[in-house]
């Protein structure tokens, strides 16, 4: 497995727009048949990175090899082998789902029949509906179908579920999971940590044009040394909470103020929760909210940057 050539190889990639550095020297390697996630807040440089890999944006420096080929020498061959979904693609509202697929299919030498692609993204019922009448989730599935018409060796998905309601997101995740089972290689960008955790074998976390962590979701979560997160708030008197007192409790490895409450990094939940409750009553603080969850990629990002993905 390790000896197979990578589907995508990026070395020391740099790109600036005027005086803004969008991508500041990143390395990536996507292996065949894996789903690789580029995770980071808006403005981290994910879209610039993926568009350089898609051959839509010129790089300033560095190496980009897609399926072992380079854009400057094999651009046209590469286009035939890639499936691309852009962030916020607006397809023509005036034509139907089938007509859209037929249009995109005509650009590729080989690929499945338009009706088969429509079946793949479960839009059979909307086959003859105008694109303008589709819901957000259906449009996104159509955009996905347009990426699949050439039977691509490598699929680029840029923020595939942004702006969708939870049900539509689930549906799209199921589709992407199905593509993974079919053995397709996928590079996807997202700022939803649950999406990356759900879909990706490996992720790289990007912030300010750099990759700040990489690995499997499990490895990354393990790397911050906490298994659980306990969040509580004490109503108006939150400021009175003594962070240091909580950080030194049994089973707690760290504490930080967060959104008017307190967030504790916890290694042993069964010790930490009783200790927190005892400490609160010792300080005479009322408990208005208490939540615990297993550590996620979001917590990894918070631990690395001190910011949340959504408000970074």
């Amino acid at each position: 497995m390790a000896s197979a050539p990578p589907a995508l190889l990026v070395k020391d990639l740099k790109k600036s727009f005027k005086d803004v550095v969008a991508v500041n020297g990143i390395d990536l390697e996507v292996r065949p048949a894996e789903c690789f996630g580029l995770l980071g807040p808006n403005g981290a440089g994910k879209t610039t990175t993926i568009e350089i890999c898609e051959g839509l944006t010129e790089k300033d420096s560095g190496v980009v090899e897609v399926l072992g080929l380079r854009w400057d020498t094999h651009g046209h061959d590469l286009r035939q082998r890639l499936g691309i979904q852009l962030q916020e693609t607006q397809l023509s509202d005036k034509i139907s789902v089938l007509e859209t697929i037929q249009l995109f299919r005509s650009f590729f030498r080989q690929g499945p029949q338009p009706d088969d692609v429509i079946g793949l993204v479960e839009l059979q019922e909307k086959r003859d509906a105008r694109v303008g009448t589709l819901s957000g989730g259906q449009k996104q599935r159509l955009a996905l179908a347009c990426a699949l018409v050439g039977n691509p060796d490598l699929l680029f998905l840029d923020e595939p579920t942004t702006g969708l309601d939870p049900q539509a997101r689930r549906q799209l995740w199921d589709l992407i999971t199905q593509f993974k089972k079919d053995g397709r290689t996928i590079l996807l960008t997202t700022h939803y940590m649950d999406e990356a955790q759900q879909l990706c074998e490996r992720v790289a976390i990007m912030d300010h044009g750099k990759i700040i962590a990489r690995g499997t979701p499990r490895e990354l979560i393990a790397s911050i040394g906490v298994e659980h997160v306990v969040e509580f708030s004490t109503g108006d008197s939150a400021v009175a909470a003594n962070l240091a007192a909580f950080a030194s409790l049994d089973g707690v490895s760290g504490a930080r103020a967060d959104n008017g409450g307190v967030q504790l990094q916890v290694t042993e939940l069964h010790l930490a929760v009783p200790a927190v409750l005892a400490e609160l009553s010792r300080q005479g603080l009322p408990l208005t909210e208490l939540r615990t969850h297993s550590a996620t990629l979001e917590d990894v990002f918070v631990a690395l940057t001190g910011r949340h993905l959504r408000d970074a």
């Binding site: 898609e54 051959g55 839509l56 046209h76 286009r79 035939q80 691309i84 852009l86 916020e88 693609t89 607006q90 397809l91 023509s92 005036k94 034509i95 007509e99 037929q102 249009l103 995109f104 299919r105 005509s106 650009f107 590729f108 030498r109 105008r130 347009c146 050439g150």
Partner: protein
Amino acid sequence: MREHPLFQLTLLRFREFVREPEALFWAFAFPILLSAGLGVAFRNQPADTVHVAAVTASIAASLRQDKLLVVDELSAEAARAALRTGKVTLVAEPGSNGSVLYRYDDTNPEGRTARMLADRAMQVAAGRKDPTPVSDDVAREPGSRYIDFLVPGMVGMGIMSNAIWGLGFSIVDARRRKLMKRIVATPMPRHYYLLSFLLWRMLLLPFEVGVPVGFGVLVFGVPMRGSFLELIGLCIFGSLAFSSLGLLIASRARTIEAASGIMNIVMLPMWIVSGVFFSADRFPAMVQPFIKVLPLTAVNDALRANMLQGSGFSQLIPQLAALAGCMVISFSLALKLFRWR
């Protein structure tokens, strides 16, 4: 053939157009409104009559013998007031010794016409007999009237405006919605994308040209002396040239506002100097070479030569060369400069 990208792209253009009710309405309404406007302006009118005033009943009776004179019988004072305000062009009043006095402005051609008509009427009424009998055969020769000049100019202007507006808006809209960027992310050869716009415009050509030409020929008897096939060829040639120019105009613009600014800058001079409403020969000889190479001048000159003089392609080489030049240069520049995202 259905699977060919160029076919599919042209189909996309065509579908987007015919499924947009407003665009379709204006595309159909404009040539019809234009033709209707011409119909009103050039409807068949009787020969012009001349308004004159007579001060006495006997003079009025004499003048009324001529059908081209409309005679008002007024007091001397009222008649002169009417002359001053232009309501009549001549006043006939009794002079001394039984003569008749004509008051009129001899620097106004209509005044001199009125003088001749009034005098003829007075003399005939008084018993003059013409020594030589004459009769009139009024000739209004098709091919030399203003309407004959105007219809080919309107056709040329229509081809230009439709191609440039139609292309400019569709392209900027596709760019703004990132539809273009998405299509460019596929292996589609880029010149197909641009060519599809040219083909789409050509599909609409039969209507854009057919309505004004058909109206001109059927209603006004505008002659079509040249080869019909060559006329079609000229329209296709013109459409290709203007569509290429439209591609070039829209090659960089990101907003509709920016595009319409450039479109107006390009089209306005041609509306004025390229002989749509009046002959381009009115401009100084010095600028004629520049006017002649403008694509609208070439189209208008070629259409007029075909329809009115029956000229063939062999006599229209300079015009065809100007159009070919415009097409090749604009299309290659557009392909080079085009902003694909």
